[in-house]
């Protein structure tokens, strides 16, 4: 537990001193999601219908933008090597890094999403569901994305490869995340979609760190 808190604290400290990286992701998300209404035109019914999908895709791309940094900086300065030889279990360290990643990317996206949703004329209850679906879904992006980031560590052009690797894994999150909002717009109870998102979160919280640890050990061999 001390190891978890120490890594979490350090990650947040570093993020706080590199605000540009955090803001970059958030601004990217806001700009991409705001371009669609401008391109598609001001037809309220059309905008409402596409809102959830657009916001979720923008969130996926924003998360993808932030993932290559997750391990690369630590790899270059040698701290990743220190983490691998530390007595603290690597899984705990990796989980702390993933939690910090979510706090600095996923959480701001989820909080900004209702504001974006207003541009699409979403009603208040749909905005709440959008926020809930992102709050449950974005940790999955960090968890599975960490495995992808570890697998592509040190690979030239790893960013493009990372996209090919993790975007297919993000598909269920996109389907059920956007589906929850569409369901609530259609007057259907979205709790089934949200429960399935929760199930994905439970599975990926085991699989993600485990796969990331295995990949890191190979990358630093």
């Amino acid at each position: 537990m001390t190891g978890f808190l120490a890594v979490l604290r350090r990650e947040l400290q570093v993020a706080l001193r590199r605000k540009g990286d955090v803001l970059n992701v958030l601004v990217f998300f806001v700009v991409v999601a705001s371009l669609f209404p401008l391109g598609v035109g001001p037809e309220p019914n059309q905008l409402r219908a596409m809102a959830a999908g657009v916001v979720w895709i923008a969130a996926l791309l924003a998360a993808l933008l932030s993932l290559p940094r997750l391990f690369a900086a630590d790899h270059i300065d040698g701290t990743l090597e220190q983490m691998l030889v530390a007595p603290q279990p690597l899984a705990v360290i990796v989980l702390a890094k993933i939690v910090a990643h979510w706090l600095t990317t996923g959480l701001p996206l989820a909080i900004a999403a209702p504001v974006i949703g207003l541009q699409y004329d979403l009603p208040a209850n749909a905005l709440a569901i959008l926020l809930a679906s992102l709050a449950i879904g974005t940790p999955v992006l960090s968890l599975l994305g960490a495995a992808g980031a570890a697998l592509t560590l040190g690979v030239r052009g790893g960013g493009a490869l990372l996209g090919l690797l993790v975007l297919p894994l993000f598909v269920p999150v996109l389907v059920f995340g956007a589906g929850a909002v569409s369901a609530s717009l259609a007057g259907i109870n979205p709790s089934a979609h949200l429960s399935l998102l929760g199930a994905f979160l439970a599975v990926s919280s085991i699989v993600g760190p485990w796969a990331a640890c295995a990949a890191l050990r190979v990358a630093l061999d």
């Binding site: 890594v7 400290q13 270059i76 300065d77 040698g78 090597e81």
Partner: protein, 200 residues
């Protein structure tokens, strides 16, 4: 305490060394020599458990290396392992937490390496040698860690830094610590049981 049995390593399919056996006991110093690319770093990374040997095994207290081993081993590689965004003190505090060191005295450790006045400076402002010294302050905190594995620890250090580091190493050996190091420089370190391996 630290033993290797018929250790063999390869890099990218190229065999580096094979049949390497040695044993290191309390107070023992092992110098690893060899030309560039002869496998010195690979040997140290294998001893640290970072790289898997292609044959043979590394044993610590008679057992294969595992989680417990990492509590009793300190590995210092080519990279200093300092985050540019954090201050020298924050870096040192983090690595001591990561290594589960007890009651670390950071100020004294930085003084031993002559970088105490840089404590509150973000690491990105440090020169190469200062960065190296600040990272090596970790050794001054790790007197209780029995096995030190140091890869080219004298690189980028000036004469004063080399003297400070070799004094630190000698003190570690005198307290029955163990030390494996690779170095191109012939820095004298007082040891009761020095050994040498030449890789070719």
């Amino acid at each position: 305490m630290l033993e290797t049995m018929a250790l063999a390593c390869e890099r990218g399919g190229l065999p580096l060394f094979s049949g390497l056996s040695f044993a290191l006991g309390p107070g023992g110093l092992l110098r690893v020599r060899g030309a560039n690319g002869s496998g010195k770093t690979t040997l140290l990374r294998t001893l640290a458990g970072l790289t898997r040997p292609s044959a043979g095994s590394v044993r610590w207290r008679g057992n294969p290396i595992d989680g417990e081993y990492h509590k009793e081993m300190l590995f210092f590689g080519h990279l200093p392992g300092m985050k540019d965004e954090l201050t020298v003190l924050e870096n040192l505090a983090f690595s001591s937490k990561l290594s589960e060191l007890e009651n670390p005295d950071f100020k004294k450790a930085l003084e031993r390496l002559g970088v105490a006045r840089l404590a509150d400076l973000p690491a990105r402002y440090l020169s190469q040698g200062q960065r190296r010294r600040a990272a090596l302050a970790r050794l001054a905190l790790s007197a209780g860690v029995p096995l030190w594995l140091l890869d080219e620890p004298f690189a980028a250090l000036d004469a004063e830094g080399i003297a400070q580091l070799s004094a630190l190493c000698a003190a570690h050996l005198a307290a029955d610590g163990m030390l494996v190091l690779t170095s191109h420089q012939d820095v004298p370190i007082a040891s009761a049981a020095p050994q040498e391996i030449e890789l070719r």
